[in-house]
């Protein structure tokens, strides 16, 4: 694949970064990402991943867009109330970047069946465990994030661990790492911070650059503008990630 002149213009701010370059941009354009959850964090991430040029974006979120979503999420609009959140989010993604293949998946099972080691999953909706377990077993990496109220948490689960199955569930929950609809609806600003941290992680995984969030949990507390990092260690002998 050679970048066209139009693509070179569109992605020029990426291409001139030493960590991206033409080769990195092509990796982004050949990448596949599954977004499970298109509430505040998931939909903010989705807009930016489409803008960045991620080749194939699969959206899974059958919940209908409600009034509450319009205060949490920037990808939905008033005239799409009642549509599924995945279908609603697909519209601005296609408008921002028609080059991206945007697929609305209605079945979680079918979405999960697509996954292999080339995929990255951005998980922000409950229930986490089944999709997470299947993704890791099929070799995919899972960026998990939870935005609630004015803050939230984000980390990376990957084969080799640690992962959701071998970490202390209570600890993760206390830190805010659980699905968006299981807690207080986030402000769009807080969901943006969490969702964009997660999207940054997805882009780095695709590029194979930087230091990932494996074993690191980042929390954001919007009332205090505080970002904290917590080290994560699995229990060992994990049947899911093998750590």
């Amino acid at each position: 694949m050679t970048l066209t002149e139009e693509q070179i213009r569109r992605y020029s701010r990426h291409i001139i970064l030493p960590e991206v370059g033409g080769r990195g941009q092509k990796r982004i354009m050949e990448a596949s990402v599954l977004l499970a959850g298109l509430g505040g964090a998931g939909s903010a991430a989705a807009l930016y991943l489409a803008a960045a040029g991620v080749g194939r974006i699969v959206l899974w979120d059958p919940a209908p867009v409600t009034e509450a979503d319009l205060t949490s999420a920037i990808a939905h609009t008033r005239d799409r109330l009642g549509q599924s959140r995945a279908a609603s989010a697909a519209e601005p993604l296609r408008a921002i970047n028609p080059e991206v293949e945007v697929i609305v998946e209605e079945s979680e099972e079918r979405a999960a069946a697509r996954l292999n080691a080339d995929w990255v999953v951005l998980l922000s909706t409950e229930p986490w465990q089944p999709l997470h377990d299947q993704a890791l077993k099929q070799g995919a990496r899972v960026v998990a994030c939870g935005a609630h109220g004015t803050g939230g948490a984000v980390t990376l689960f990957q084969p080799g661990g640690p992962c959701l199955a071998c970490l202390d569930a209570n600890y993760l929950h206390t830190a805010g790492l659980y699905g968006e609809e299981a807690g207080e609806a986030p402000l769009a600003a807080a969901a943006g911070v969490i969702g964009l941290m997660a999207a940054a992680e997805v882009i780095k995984l695709i590029l194979g650059k930087g230091i990932s969030l494996a074993g690191r949990l980042l929390t954001y507390d919007g009332w205090n503008a505080a970002v904290c990092e917590h080290k994560l260690e699995g229990r060992g002998n994990c049947p899911v990630c093998g750590a």
């Binding site: 020029s12 990426h14 803008a51 807080a190 943006g192 911070v193 969030l213 980042l218």
Partner: protein, 254 residues
């Protein structure tokens, strides 16, 4: 602490107004998120038109908006999200001639300009008018966020950066590049700071500069202080009216 603003705080947001200097990389998340939160009036100041090279990160604009004024493209998106928000468009460059008029119509300024002359201009005008500024900047994979609010005892932009870098010493986004997700992270944090300033709740980044690297996912906080000798917000200011910022920064578009 609970997320939701009390009814009184929410009403305060609805009565408040914010001016965005720049409706591009940082302005995109800021505008969307302030509209979603119910800020009553949002002013957008940007003279640029949407270019294809913006679309990699400026999610307010779509491929079909290429060539349109950014403020008009942005206003459409904000009204679709929240029709109750009053969106005011200022398709002009902010200059020493219009800055005081523009800024005095708003409670707060979001400064995400892409050049130093505009940063100093906005800073000085806001100090003179007593308006708080939410500051954000992005460079390659790195960003910074702070709140400049000398009225509450914090520093201004000039306290941190008394003089601009030599022309050409800091390359622009077009020359240095920027990872697309970065203005999303920085702009979202800026929006949260604005909501705290406007609602009167929470602890803002006044006296603190938050630095972030998305490549390593490191976030560092630096304490910053007001400089009593600052020429603009210090005890004995020497800059008491707006100056020629192009000359101060050593030329246009450097």
């Amino acid at each position: 602490m609970h997320a939701h603003f009390t009814q009184e705080e929410q009403e305060r947001l609805a009565r408040s107004s914010v001016l965005l200097v720049g409706a591009g990389g940082l302005g995109s998340p800021v505008a969307y998120q302030l509209a979603a939160a119910g800020v009553g009036r949002i002013g957008l100041c940007d003279m640029d038109r949407v270019d294809v090279s913006n679309l990699q990160r400026q999610v307010l604009h779509t491929t079909f908006d290429a060539g349109r004024l950014k403020v008009e493209s942005a206003a459409d998106k904000l009204r679709a999200l929240n029709p109750n928000v009053v969106v005011e468009t200022h398709p002009v460059a902010i200059t020493r001639e219009n800055a005081m008029d523009l800024i005095s119509g708003y409670d707060l300024v979001m400064a995400g300009a892409d050049n130093f002359a505009t940063r100093y201009l906005v800073n000085d005008a806001c100090v003179m008018l007593g308006k708080p500024v939410v500051h954000g900047a992005v460079f390659r994979w790195d960003g910074q966020i702070s709140v400049f609010d000398p009225k509450s005892g914090g520093p201004c932009y000039r306290c941190l950066y008394p003089s601009p870098p030599p022309p050409g010493a800091v390359p622009s986004c077009a020359v240095a590049g920027v990872i697309g997700v970065l203005p999303g992270v920085v702009g979202s944090m800026m929006a949260m700071e604005a909501l705290k300033l406007l609602s009167g709740r929470g602890s803002t980044l006044t006296n603190r500069l938050l630095l972030c690297s998305t490549l390593t996912m490191d976030f560092t906080e630096v304490q910053v202080q007001r400089n009593p000798d600052c020429p603009v917000c210090g005890d004995h200011p020497t800059v008491t009216e707006l100056i020629d910022y192009e000359a101060f920064c050593g030329g246009v578009g450097q």
